[in-house]
Amino acid sequence: MFGLTAKNTRLLFLVIFLVAFAPFLMNPFPADSAMAQFNAGYPDLMQRFVIFGIFAIGFNILFGLTGYLSFGHAAFLGVGSYAGVWMFKLLGMNVIPAIAASVLVAGLLSVVIGYICLRRSGIYFSILTLAFAQMMFALAASVLTPITGGETGLTLSLSDPRILGAAAVDGNIPVPSFFGLEMRSTYELAVGGWSFSFNTGYYFCAIIMVLAFYASIRIFQSPFGLMLRAIKTNQTRLNYTGLNSRPYTLAAFVISGMYAGLAGGLMVAMDPLAGAERMFWTASGEVVIMTILGGAGTMIGPVLGAGAIKYMENIVSKINKAVLEQWFAFMPDGMEKAFVTVFDMFTGKGWHLTLGVVFMLVIIFLPGGLVEGGQRIKGLFSRKKAQDTPSDAAKTPAE
């Protein structure tokens, strides 16, 4: 369906299902229960899931398919954010021109950076992209302060022109909207002890993520995608087969840069401010980790990786000492202290440690990322089934 293979259509519907019902799926625990802190179904976080999902989907088109590991993709996200905020300042609060500008500006910048960095491959390419992104960060934080707001960041103000819309509404700065539909508006649904939030901004981002995911599947199964995979496995053969690898890698680089710009644009559509820290090298590293954690080169892996990391960042980091003491209150005093001390290293501010351990475990035991984990679990089940019906198994040993 939609020009996809049956398997990829199922994948697309799975993603549509997950994002459509995320407000329920992410809030499985009653709001006043002890487990409520594991709920992730609040608008802010759900928006981040899908926005970083888009960022990682795009990154995977470059890294997963061609193997070119960029360490500077946050620069495109940051530039996209600035472009979006400027549209809000100059034109008005409709998110469409803002997002269009984000994608466009990020795309243009990635043409330039990609053209230069793709002269080298391997580690030299990675270092070049890193150097560029850090230069962009330094520029944004200092020299370009009139455009970027420097270290305080770029924010809206009442004196902005907004030539296509109102500069102020009731004396306040207006909020981002999709033709009047405010991104921040949320419908709360309370069922029993549960409460679910349906946020306009989230669903706006979710629809765009589904479209972005669909486009990525199309690229994966296209001749263009095949050439990108060929570049990853043997660029020499590709060149001696009459194909010019440079425009292919550049196209992949620009597409992934535009995805990053789109993510940056959506970020400011949800919360209209942009800061230089969005371009810092750790932000570039984060999307690398998301993609590898989920499964580089797989279609759904980056989405899972982005979700897993944002979940840890927001949920594990909220488990502070007080919460831990509550958890281990049933233990004898000395034991409780020991447990709290150990766990505290991994939770709250220490969530990075948890991320590091999880990342290492995945890389060592599941080099194909979370997707490989899923496949192995599926494999276990089908092997069990095969054992139950040995006659079938004998007929189809490959299954």
Binding site: L226, Y240, N244
Partner: protein, 252 residues
């Protein structure tokens, strides 16, 4: 008429003169074998033809156009395909995908931004790829990963990848090395069959004299970077200088 003209080509690697002063012309629609002991500079000569190396001196022209300074993909698009001494294939892709890539290159040129077309939807490419796989008896291996093929199959796959592009000039660097005798004979038959079907020139480097003498119309003997003699197979067989320099006590 010469399709490939190599004039006064020389190439040094540091202190080593890999190619001295090579003059060689390959006539159109012939099979021209280049033989010589290991380290004679045969692969280096091919590298100078396909844009991998730029010779220090001399000129290389293909159909009257200079090849020097052109990129590998440009030379391929002019109609020159090469089979490498160690097989260069897309190891992580399936056999079918390996074959489809040169088909796309042949049909669409060196770059085409077809990111929304589906590979599955390309009927003509699929037919071409299946036909050539059938020719090299690898159709039943179409869904295998290229990395898991045997050495002989990897060579045949690479040869099929070159042949499917219908090159004007096919450069083969020891195409039957590592193949079983039966596979070697199949390869000879395949190349002869292709040759009968359409216009193609082949320059073939080979150690297996059985292959050389059953295919070649001209033979150049290369030793220490310089052509020793060039002649017909019959004359080469009896040539005293050749026996001495290369064939030695070999059974010819």
């Amino acid at each position: 008429m010469a399709i490939l003209e190599i004039k006064n080509v020389g190439k040094r690697f540091g202190g080593l003169q890999a190619l001295g002063d090579v003059n060689l012309s390959v006539a159109e629609n012939t099979v021209h074998a280049i033989i010589g002991p290991n380290g004679a500079g045969k692969s280096t000569l091919l590298n100078c033809l396909v844009g991998k190396l730029i010779p220090d001196t001399g000129s290389v022209t293909f159909q009257g156009q200079s090849l020097l300074g052109r990129k590998p993909h440009e030379i391929n698009q002019m109609g020159v395909s090469r089979v490498f001494q160690t097989p260069e294939i897309f190891a992580d892709l399936t056999v079918m995908e390996n074959i489809m890539i040169p088909c796309f290159a042949h049909r669409d040129g060196s770059f085409k931004m077809n990111a929304f077309a589906a590979v599955r939807g390309q009927g003509d490419i699929k037919d071409q790829a299946e036909a050539i796989l059938d020719d090299v008896n690898m159709l039943e291996k179409r869904d295998m990963h290229a990395a898991s093929l045997s050495r002989g199959d990897k060579r045949r796959l690479e040869m099929a990848m070159c042949l499917v592009q219908e090159p004007k000039l096919l450069l083969l660097d020891e195409p039957t090395a590592g193949m079983a005798r039966a596979d070697t004979n199949n390869t000879i038959d395949l190349l002869k069959e292709i040759k009968e079907k359409r216009d193609i020139t082949m320059a073939i480097i080979e150690h297996d004299m059985h292959v050389v003498f059953s295919m070649a119309e001209r033979i150049t003997v290369l030793a220490q970077g310089t052509p020793l003699v060039e002649d017909t197979p019959d004359n080469i067989k009896g040539h005293p200088k050749v026996r001495e320099a290369y064939l030695g006590e070999a059974q010819v």
